[in-house]
Symmetry: C2
Subunit: 474 residues, 2 copies
């Protein structure tokens, strides 16, 4: 399988050059002492396990495709160690309710199946969770708004793999299990078999990211990648694909990646096994979300000698193949809205010549109508308008005409947080200073902590500010 033809056809984005990293000092005393990492990544759960997001500005600056260096990572435990010479011999099974179950190697997968390449945005279900944790501590660590990244993934269609193994009657789910041994067993989860067989869903068994062998943090040498769904379903270090009649009973499938009803407290949730097992609360498709990347948190804008406008900009995404159809900006707390520009770099791949090959895989996107990737928005706002506003808020709408909510839907695991993203404006002398809702991990800062510390009720429908006319509450 060759590389793409003429340079002239390459009108779509290619990955930025990634760095050569070293093993970081802080990883040396952990089980991940074999993993080379970028020091810019922000650790969300102490030193180990490795759960990180990049600085939001750095993520945005990389553009549509994220390098392995800055791609967010969600690891539950130690990273399995696979040496380069072991990659092609990596064994995994396709088993369960199948006429032709098979044990195969990555070499078989590459040699015997059609290879595909396309861009996919992965998002952690916990993206923006810090905001929920400020309102009320959830059972989850504090992601900022950079738990999202996009890469070109190369591999085999899961549906192709399963079709050759011939699912039996009554088969309805596909379970995945990784090689990462954890306190509650190997990490595992499941999706519906129907989705796995649906080419529109684009579920892939991937062995390359941005044209390179998978980085250890991203599943070296083999993983599932599911477009439009939360990252928690895209099992890394893949060892088993198991077709079943029922959803996975893996501990991590049941007790992670769920949005329990909002009235269930962390304390009450401990005694509600049937609620945890209710598949209606399991998260698969991403919900619609957006964030402002520039101005960055604490960025300052000179009023004395700057330009007359500032270009606000950021990202947005939707789930399940849906497209973000509009992004709106308000400077008066929702009374009026203005439409931002949106660009969809993903669509540039759709214009590639048919049968274009990239990184050894057919660029399998031209025929597909679904959206698998984030998009970018921007809006030039006159400085004079910013001076008159308390804040700048954004909301995205998807093509099913669902819009991001004004208010947070708090839940026990703090997942899928997607209220309007609010950047507060402070005029300080001859500068404007911008304040994001939070900063990731334990990093202090953001209007949410500030307002809460001042006694504001963040859930009062006014972001904890005084309701107009309300008595002083502090």
């Amino acid at each position: 399988v060759g590389e793409p033809g003429t340079e002239g056809s390459r009108l779509y984005p290619l990955p930025p050059t990634s760095r050569r990293n070293k093993v970081l000092t802080q990883d040396l005393k952990t089980p991940d002492s074999h993993v080379e990492r970028d020091p810019r990544l922000i650790r969300l759960t102490g030193i180990h396990p490795f759960n990180v997001e990049p600085p939001l500005s750095d993520l945005y600056d990389e553009g549509f495709l994220t390098t392995k260096d800055l791609h967010y990572v969600r690891n539950h435990g130690p990273v399995p160690r696979v040496k380069d010479f072991e990659i092609l011999g990596w064994e995994f099974t396709v088993e369960g309710m199948l006429e032709k179950p098979v044990k195969m190697t990555l070499r078989n997968l590459i040699e015997d199946y059609e290879q595909l390449t396309y861009p996919i945005t992965l998002v952690c279900a916990g993206n923006r969770r810090k905001e929920q944790n400020v309102v009320r501590k959830s059972k989850g660590f504090s992601w900022g708004a950079a738990g999202v990244s996009t890469a070109l993934w190369t591999g085999v269609s899961l549906g192709d793999l399963l079709a050759r193994a011939v699912p039996k009657r009554g088969a309805r789910y596909v379970c995945f299990e990784g090689a990462d041994k954890l306190p509650n067993g190997y990490y595992g989860t499941s999706v519906k078999l129907n989705w796995a067989m649906d080419p529109n869903r684009g579920i892939m068994v991937a062995h390359k990211m941005n044209g390179e062998v998978l980085h250890p943090d991203h599943g070296k040498p083999l993983r599932i990648v599911i477009p439009g769904q939360i990252g928690g379903r895209s099992v890394k270090w893949l060892k088993r694909i198991i077709v079943t009649s029922a959803p996975s009973d893996n501990w991590y499938h049941i007790y992670d990646n769920r949005v329990l009803p909002t009235m269930i407290s962390p304390e009450a949730s401990a005694n509600l096994p049937d609620t945890w097992k209710d598949e209606r609360y399991a998260i698969y498709d991403l919900n619609t979300n957006s964030a402002t990347c520039y101005p960055a948190h604490d960025e300052k804008l000179s009023l004395s000698n700057g330009p007359e406008t500032y270009k606000f900009r950021g990202y947005a995404y939707a789930g399940g193949g849906k497209r973000v159809s509009r992004l709106e900006v308000t400077l008066d707390q929702g009374k009026t809205w203005t439409l931002a520009n949106i660009t969809y770099p993903e669509d540039q791949y759709r214009l590639a010549p048919e049968n274009e090959v990239l990184f050894g895989g057919r660029l399998d996107i031209t025929w597909r109508e679904a959206c698998f990737c984030w998009c970018f928005w921007d809006m030039d706002i006159p400085i004079s308008q910013l001076r008159g506003a308390k804040d700048v808020m954004i909301r995205a709408m998807d093509d099913s005409m669902m819009v991001q909510p004004k208010e947070m839907y708090w839940s026990v695991l703090g997942m899928m947080n997607n209220p309007w993203y609010r950047v507060v404006i402070h005029e300080e002398g001859s500068t404007l200073r911008f304040e994001h809702p939070t900063q990731p991990a334990l990093i202090p800062g953001g209007w949410m902590e500030r307002v809460k510390a001042q006694g504001g009720n963040l859930m009062n429908g006014f972001w904890g500010e005084k309701v107009p006319g309300e008595e002083e509450t502090v």
Copy 2:
């Protein structure tokens, strides 16, 4: 093709008995003087064309399946007249970018293709539009909350039909055209070819509704039915299926069934042809919505000799095959929420024996994971709690974790209105009186008109009530 086997297997709902109606006096002088109708239907656009919804309570009382008598109707003009003896000879084309275009009759469709039956909820994109019209007049007539109905539809998979006609390379859309000649041409619209070919989407060319020949108002003798999408795409009196490389350029495809960005006024919209033509604003999948049916508008509840609880109940639906995963009720204006019970009668069909035949079609649902139908919710609320509350509001969440918004997204055509459904409680002497947001058509009543008449700003984030502590505005 036979009828279903044992009665014992029929654990799923069958249609209620429909009435024998007559031509109504008011229709005699219209082009629809050949159409027999149920007098209970509420006319939304004067006498003609016929656009109606049933009384909300009557709709709810019929249960999961709606008879032809009460099924909502959206007609743009006169109903084409097709006599019974003409049904099987009804001609239509499958044309455009196809290797094997075909002109065929309904008889061919029935004899040469596999017949399928399954339940589908249709919803008008204008459902609940009256609420938008009270806030600000839109370019659309005033649906209440009963622009939604469910029936068992029998016909042929559109994908099956198209596969035999073999779409050519570059084909991306399927246009539909009806026999209803209108001021701007025949009614027509389009959907993506990809969806038409996708069995999970379940798009059908239907010739039976609840086991009977189609009623004239519902497309006699042949129509498209698209689960999970707005009714406006399900073209009635089907004459042409046209495969194309671009979306339909039919006037009704462009200037109807769109949600333009909220800041575009009716006046401004007149000069924005590119905005109208932006497919991102075209509505296909339904958004998530819900309504309270009981207590009905103006229903009174005795406090002196009644039971201790009242069972609130209503419907909910989501689009694009999604399931309503929870419905929540608040009695304190959104501060706290309680989970309602939900029933999914659609799931009872999934339990039918494989290859079950109903109304001459295979009950094609057991394998499908998607939700095509509305569900019902209920909650027993203690009277004592109702006495202490100003209102009862509900919101549904779908399985992509998107929740109905608190606030209305107003747009020029007033479509896809789905904020929290609010029923106001009035304690009057020894009774509680319940007040819905609006009444359909020009029928007065509802808290929205009342609040607006009193000078309240319906878009102030508090349903036009005084913001706590706010100065008197009247």
